[in-house]
Amino acid sequence: MTAAATAGTGGAPAAATSSELLSVVASRELAARRTVFAGIGLPTLAASLAHLTVAPDIEIVYESGVCGAHPDRLPETIADAVLITGAEAVLSMAALFGSVLQGGHIDVGFLGAAQIDRLGNLNSSVIGDWERPAVRLPGSGGAMEVMANSREVFVVMRRHDPRSFVAELDFCTSPGPDRALAEGITPLGAGVTRVITELGILAREGVGEELRLIAVHPGVTAGQVRAATGWDLRVADDLAVVEPPTAAELRLLRDEVDPGRVYLR
């Protein structure tokens, strides 16, 4: 008897918030995945929900070095003390980035960004010019490494608008495989394969492919998504409508994954 099967009983839950929607949709995409490199926030919620539903064997690996965390409180950062106590392993960062990530052990890496382009290249460095930027963003951190070394990358973007979905990045921090191949270097993975937003789901199969709109949330039209995207977004012939979060999914998310609503606010 799985938790997902039982959580469906009882009265109808309240409608999903934006955070809940994104978490649920992302969790479904993790079916059958084993190792997920996740930051705190929606990626952790998605992976934790997937663990209770579509991917029981999933392991979340954190950039700080934690593998197999079993926190008794929801962590607030990727290096939260509650992630370490009771974890299965804590590695040095050299081992984590070298052997685990670059070594090819990550199935799905989660990334965010300020800008994304049609090939799934990401900017988290600057808005404007690097030398004297209008806005200095945090930079790569480990994002470039997650992109180069995960088998695929999922991007969760709360905001879907032409300032974030751009024809041309101000700066390419984390390049997808097309840009690496243009330099004659073959990366391990496929780059960004899923972008989950408040409007729908964009997908990309791999090298040479552009992101395409494959699904919209109920009530959203392809035209709306195209208008919110800074390039001429392709739309799948068989455009689907995202199935809304089920009562079971929402109950698990609210009662088991984030009962304190640390991230579901």
């Binding site: 950062t77 960062m93 050299a94 070298g98 790569s140 984390s174 997808g176 270097i185 391990l188």
Partner: protein, 317 residues
């Protein structure tokens, strides 16, 4: 055989003396600790002593770096992440980079693994370290330190293979914070161990700041826990709560409220100046800083007990 009774070299110093002895104007100073065990108290003492023209090397340039920038200590920053964790922005750093206000900052930008590999190359005395990052990124175009090497072995497809490399970093001094050390400098860390060992081995000198100095027998009961052996350490400084607002696993929790507050404090130059005056220039040392925070504050960061189970190292009979 030499036994435990022999006195090892005592490297304990006060924070004031250690910073005076090992951090000089113009030095390259690495401060490491990834979210966990950030050497904040050491950064504050560098500010109090008015060091200038430093090159600061730190993977995550966060609050302590913003404070050192505000203290006017830093002309060059080598880093892979310039942000206030997930809690917001670094006001002083953004003003320096976005508007050269009050002066420009020479920023040498890498990725996390690029920084780790620079420490690895420094520690291992290598001319470069190869890594599978940077291909297709714009970062090499703004950082000439990132280069490429052709492998002398054929690639998987039989054709020549290129790979990016980063140069070693060899700080004049590396400063880390740890849970405990003995007087000789054998340093034990648990929880996140980050890049501390590599950063220490990469440096010419190393200062270890600890929550507590313990007896030889404590360290020696568990030699695998020693992350940095004494031969790599030049000074040991006892400084309880010296990693605040970050945390020390098993000692105190992260001060998340302070992280959130910092974005607001640092955004406003006047407020930042006041904060520095009260908490850094206005305190003699870290003991005064922690006392000013007050015991109620520390009670809120206290942690309960979750002890490791012992292992048997064995003894010949």
């Amino acid at each position: 055989m030499p036994g435990g009774s022999v006195c090892a070299v005592d490297k304990t110093m006060t924070m004031k003396d250690a910073i005076a002895a090992f951090v000089h104007d113009g030095d390259t100073v690495a401060l490491e600790g990834f979210t966990h065990l950030i050497p904040t108290a050491a950064g504050h003492e560098i500010i109090r002593q008015g060091r200038r023209d430093l090159t600061v090397v730190r993977m995550t340039a966060d609050i302590v770096v913003d404070q050192m920038l505000a203290g006017g200590c830093v002309t060059t920053l080598v880093s892979s992440f310039v942000g206030n964790s997930s809690a917001g922005s670094l006001g002083e750093l953004r003003r320096r980079i976005e508007r050269a206000d009050p002066e420009p900052l020479d920023f040498r930008e890498y990725s996390h693994y690029g920084m780790i590999c620079r420490y690895l190359a420094g520690a291992q005395r290598l001319p470069f370290y190869p890594l599978r990052s940077y291909a297709g990124s714009d970062l090499p175009s703004v950082n000439p330190g990132i280069r490429k090497v052709r492998s002398p072995y054929p690639g998987p497809d039989g054709r020549p293979e290129d790979i990016h490399v980063v140069p070693p970093v060899s700080p004049d001094v590396t400063i880390i914070h740890a849970q405990r050390a003995d007087r000789a400098g054998n340093t034990q860390i648990w929880g996140l161990t980050g890049v501390q060992a590599e950063a220490v081995y990469a440096a010419r000198k190393a200062v270890v700041v600890v929550e507590e100095i313990v007896g030889d027998e404590v360290v020696r009961s568990d030699p695998n826990r020693t992350v940095v052996p004494s031969h790599a350490v030049d000074a040991v400084v006892a400084c309880p709560r010296g990693a605040h607002p970050s945390f020390a696993q098993g000692y105190y929790d992260r001060d998340n409220a302070f992280y959130r507050a910092w974005s607001h404090i640092s955004k406003d130059p006047a407020r930042l100046r006041d904060w520095m005056a009260e908490w850094v220039y206005g305190t003699r040392d870290h003991a005064e800083y922690t006392a000013r925070l007050g015991e109620d504050h520390w009670a809120g960061l206290a942690v309960g007990e979750a002890l490791s189970l012992p292992v048997n190292y064995g003894r010949r009979r």
